[in-house]
Symmetry: C4
Subunit: 259 residues, 4 copies
Amino acid sequence: MPCRRAFLTAIASTLVFEPLVRARQGSTTPGEVIADLVAGNRILAIENVLDAMGHISVRHPSRPDRFLLARSMPPEVVTAADILELDFGGNPVDGSGRASYLERFIHSEIYKARRDVNAIVHCHTPSLIPFADSDVPLRAMYHMAAFIADGVPVFDIRQAAGMTDLLVRDAKLGKALAASLGNKSVALMRHHGAVVVATSIPNVVGRSVYLDLNARVQIQTAALGGKATYVDPAEAKLRMADPNEYARAWELWKRKVAR
Amino acid sequence: MPCRRAFLTAIASTLVFEPLVRARQGSTTPGEVIADLVAGNRILAIENVLDAMGHISVRHPSRPDRFLLARSMPPEVVTAADILELDFGGNPVDGSGRASYLERFIHSEIYKARRDVNAIVHCHTPSLIPFADSDVPLRAMYHMAAFIADGVPVFDIRQAAGMTDLLVRDAKLGKALAASLGNKSVALMRHHGAVVVATSIPNVVGRSVYLDLNARVQIQTAALGGKATYVDPAEAKLRMADPNEYARAWELWKRKVAR
Amino acid sequence: MPCRRAFLTAIASTLVFEPLVRARQGSTTPGEVIADLVAGNRILAIENVLDAMGHISVRHPSRPDRFLLARSMPPEVVTAADILELDFGGNPVDGSGRASYLERFIHSEIYKARRDVNAIVHCHTPSLIPFADSDVPLRAMYHMAAFIADGVPVFDIRQAAGMTDLLVRDAKLGKALAASLGNKSVALMRHHGAVVVATSIPNVVGRSVYLDLNARVQIQTAALGGKATYVDPAEAKLRMADPNEYARAWELWKRKVAR
Amino acid sequence: MPCRRAFLTAIASTLVFEPLVRARQGSTTPGEVIADLVAGNRILAIENVLDAMGHISVRHPSRPDRFLLARSMPPEVVTAADILELDFGGNPVDGSGRASYLERFIHSEIYKARRDVNAIVHCHTPSLIPFADSDVPLRAMYHMAAFIADGVPVFDIRQAAGMTDLLVRDAKLGKALAASLGNKSVALMRHHGAVVVATSIPNVVGRSVYLDLNARVQIQTAALGGKATYVDPAEAKLRMADPNEYARAWELWKRKVAR
């Protein structure tokens, strides 16, 4: 509780930044950012993007060198009281001693490297692993996944650190992952999963859900045989001119997790 | 509310057409047409034909140059109060300023071109995309999908308009789609989804559900290997002599969404 | 109501046959046969073997030349009051005028031809269509589907009657299907579905559920590639020595539909 | 009831072993071992690893020559009162005459052969059968299934006993299965299913759930085409240094079955 109050006080003192936050996050008050992060956790669980593992974060609305992430727990049962504020060293700033996820460096290093990114999902979604483990590139099959039309890199942790337990356990590994991601929206992680980035919580949730659907579609297309085509990068660019692409889905998903 | 009342008044004044409506729509009163459209929205959502996106419309029961379509919102949560009446320009006639879907021109142009069509579904059902994106034609695998035995065209928006955001944003694109559909029951939309048409709401819902199942079956048949056969167009024609093919399913689905 | 009372009276008058019924059906009273048939309808719906279409019947416990089948309606919502008693002409004997399924001749003709059969399912389960539509034979992948190790014939209605609407609309077509089934447990119906037979309701329900699972397994095995093996007919024969193979599943399923 | 009381008395008399139990099982009291076993049964059912068939056991916390297993019933509905204590002959020790599963020898013989194993699952999970029935080895696709990176043997009952009904009906067959398993974490059983072993109930449940997911991923990877890679055994070894790999999932699953 004290940590949460401290956090709320901290952002309350920066209300002057609110209009910016609103534009960037699709949320209008600090409490709404947290509410959206809690909703994002639950939505990703009920949509089967995350199971007991994986996480979603949001850049701090007024302190761009911090981010919000749940303490180490299953996303499906996260509440507002479970949200921690972390600095770019991956350390919770509330002093309560509660630990966030082991792989929090995925988030800190990407926020450092990508000023345009305000929300990040790390997942093990089964449909993505075939692309992480093989030489078949993940492609944009339809307009709902236009954000990957410019390519999906695959991060191979062995190239950064040799033999590991496959987890992004420190800042060095997080930095290597961020480098692999580059300026793209998604990076696959070989024998592990993926990371998805976007400008807001609704967008990163929408991208994660449709990335899963798109991967299933691509696998089914391969199973069907025949010669496939993919969304043209020029079409994808026009499609992505809409900054609130997943707004309608977001409203529905929020209703579902509010039940 | 006023718009809804206006609409009800409008159709109330045309009660003389009711017997025709009954035969064509499977509904017996104007209120029932709206109730069926609401049910159709929800059924398509629980049957996973639609998610937060996509839409279903019905031709106005007494004014064949108008159609009914929800305002822009997720189909799963549409209620009778959300139904708008639109003219063939794609404009709501109630003056309330509420907007329908961006892609309403899919509906207006098909109703213009096809006098036999009274109900239309536009969807992004994942099972259909492999056929929209490849050179493998969608075929009728069993009697429940006999309506596609005469072929399923694929609409490629690039041939109509070059590079776009893939959406049917205006009447010109809607007209090109309607031309691609021709006299068929389904048109696939490359890198996007599909449009399904029928004589009534129960039929278009039934066709959409079984189109999805049929596509899954065809993909599984390809994965199984071997040499496949398809429903003969002559068998399909005999099968389609039943104008209420999906009546039993419709009654069950309505019970489910009424819970 | 009167028809149901008449039926109950009819079987009440044959209580002398009850021990036989008990052994054969796994049910101990006439009311239990009906209760099991209702449960079977609902179980097949929740297990996705049937949707709004398809049906399950049981041979009359004391009049082997009659059978019990629901009136024409979705299996998921069948109640005891919906069960009709039919003769081998496919006619309800209660005189109430209520109609059973169009394809009731599937049941009447198989009961006529197969004295060992006491329960029949007709279904359109999607996993079975790839085998009905191609030259890949459905094989027993594991012990739960041992009953198909002696082969699964495919009934092609065109060989019996040329071009049709694919439905088994009369006794002649039902007889042709029964001939195709021969002494086997399952016959696939090209471009349509399947028929499954067994000695009792629990067994025909169990077989139908595991036939679906087995078909999915075989398709996945094909997708995996490699060289597959199948349950040896000699192993299957030993396995089928258990006359109550699905008893444990049946108890669980009944609990589920009783909720 | 008397049997349950006898059992509780039996373990109550061995409370001195509790610290050991705690370390090994992740449970802190005898009652918690039983509660975890009940939870494990239900979790495996809701996660679709088990259906009405299959079972999970735990080595007795204080008598390593005994194990706990439900009486013969569907896992989904097991309660604490259904748990039996069995000796290594496969006999319940309570004298109540209640029978456990026919295939209890799977458990007794593996506990005999493997001192490191404290929990065992036997399942027919459909995703595993393609690997049990073909020459394609099951491989570790991602870190969540690192425990199979050292290989998955396939037990062929015909090599032990010629033609059978495929069931592990006696100690001899159980011993042959245990020999096939060797020092591995999983053995597939041709035309039947699999056995999964671990140091604790949470771990064997976690392994069973992710074994299913991993098998699906491998099948999808094969369907996708291309050249696949697998978790390196050295990476897997580092990954498995965590003895509580599935702790977070276990907490979530327990919450779900407690509802």
